[in-house]
Amino acid sequence: MDFTMINIVIPAVKILIVFTVVLLAVLIMTYAERKVIAFMQVRLGPMRVGPWGLLQPIADALKLFSKEDIIPTMADKLVYFLAPTLAIVPALLTFLVVPFGDKTTFFGLLKQPTSMAISDLNIGLLYILAISSVGIYGILLGGWSSNSKYPLLGALRSAAQIVSYEVPLTLALVGPILMANTLSMKGIVEAQSKGMWFVIPQFFGFLVYMACAVAETNRAPYDLPEAEQELVAGFHTEYSGMKFAFFYLAEYANMIVVSAIATVVFLGGWLPVPGLAFLHIPAIIWFALKVAFFLFIFLWLRATYPRYRYDQLMQIGWKFFIPVALINIFVTALLVL
């Protein structure tokens, strides 16, 4: 195969597939969120549009698509326009290195199998962390440019929360890297195929990672930036229509990304559950099941726990998660030595 085929055509096809899958996953996720939380609260959730309300996400998407686009008179127009783009682009770009499976030939279409990740960068994990931190500009600029009280307060809270939890999140991932000795997402999964999944030796790292991942995506119980009772809708209060939809999409795409990282780094990526390899379930199904498991935990948390207070939120991040993550690195380093 020549250079163009390997480096342009196949990646472009993979990008379009991943892009579609992510958007579909977000649609399903919005439906699942409403249904799961409804059942946890002994309600039925959406039931009107289609059988069991299955067409609800499509109706929502169409509604948002046809809504009026409001730009408040006091807003900083260019920044106000750019902010949703700045939120959605990094959220999508992070999917570049997510390995959905080992290798694929696209059902025999290709002679040589190609990696299931769009591009398996050797700095995969670092790439994800770097790109996903850019997303904060969308939130901060969105709240700032609206030039209104609630978005400004929401954006400030959001920014402080995300940077605070980024530190323990990044530290929690050092433990698995110490054990795998690579930053490549594929390499991390392969390191787990030889031994056990990193969730067992890195259990504390896993807990810190999950808690920080929830905080990073601004989800309950860390959904301070969107605390309805005090801040209306937080940083996107002034946004309507598709621009609001992009913030929404970015939030859900980020949830899927952090779940995918958790799957790859701690739950062995596409590897089958030990002892169930004889079932011959395709790698991609295992991957999807594990990601779905983490996404379910997100919903479960939201239905279970009340929101933190802001001072508690900042204190637990700086005073509890960082020391635990540092001790985890220290102990891991000693054991690996």
Partner: protein
């Protein structure tokens, strides 16, 4: 070969940038545009806004940003070390322990000074 790995990133960047722009452009033909003064005024629960909000914020946010900067640089330093840890051996462990101990002193100092409090 290693640089060619980044070509998909460029393609993806273009597609990801086009997605919101194209969607917004297409939506322009479907959405209404009947604006009026109160619809375009900043959200204020129906009260009329007479002046721009002051964009002041609490100095706490500034402290958080500074501490974040210190810790984030440190975590970036940990990543290459973690990748090459087995090759570095005991030397790597001791070096990083010294670095972290210095950093932890700073952390304890910030804690004692109340930089991590939020009142």
């Amino acid at each position: 070969m290693s640089h060619a790995q980044y070509i998909p990133l460029l393609i993806f960047l273009v597609i990801a940038l086009l997605f919101p722009l194209v969607t917004l452009a297409i939506a322009k033909f479907f959405r209404p545009a009947k604006y009026n003064k109160s619809k375009l005024s900043p959200y204020e629960c129906g009260i009329e806004v007479d002046k721009e909000p002051e964009r002041n914020f609490h100095v706490r946010y500034y402290v958080v940003a500074v501490i974040f900067l210190i810790f984030d640089v440190e975590t970036v330093f940990l990543y290459p070390w973690a990748v090459k840890y087995r090759a570095l051996g005991l030397f790597g462990f001791v070096e990083m322990a010294i670095f972290l101990i210095i950093l932890i002193f700073g952390y304890v100092y910030a804690w004692k000074k109340g930089a991590l409090e939020w009142e």
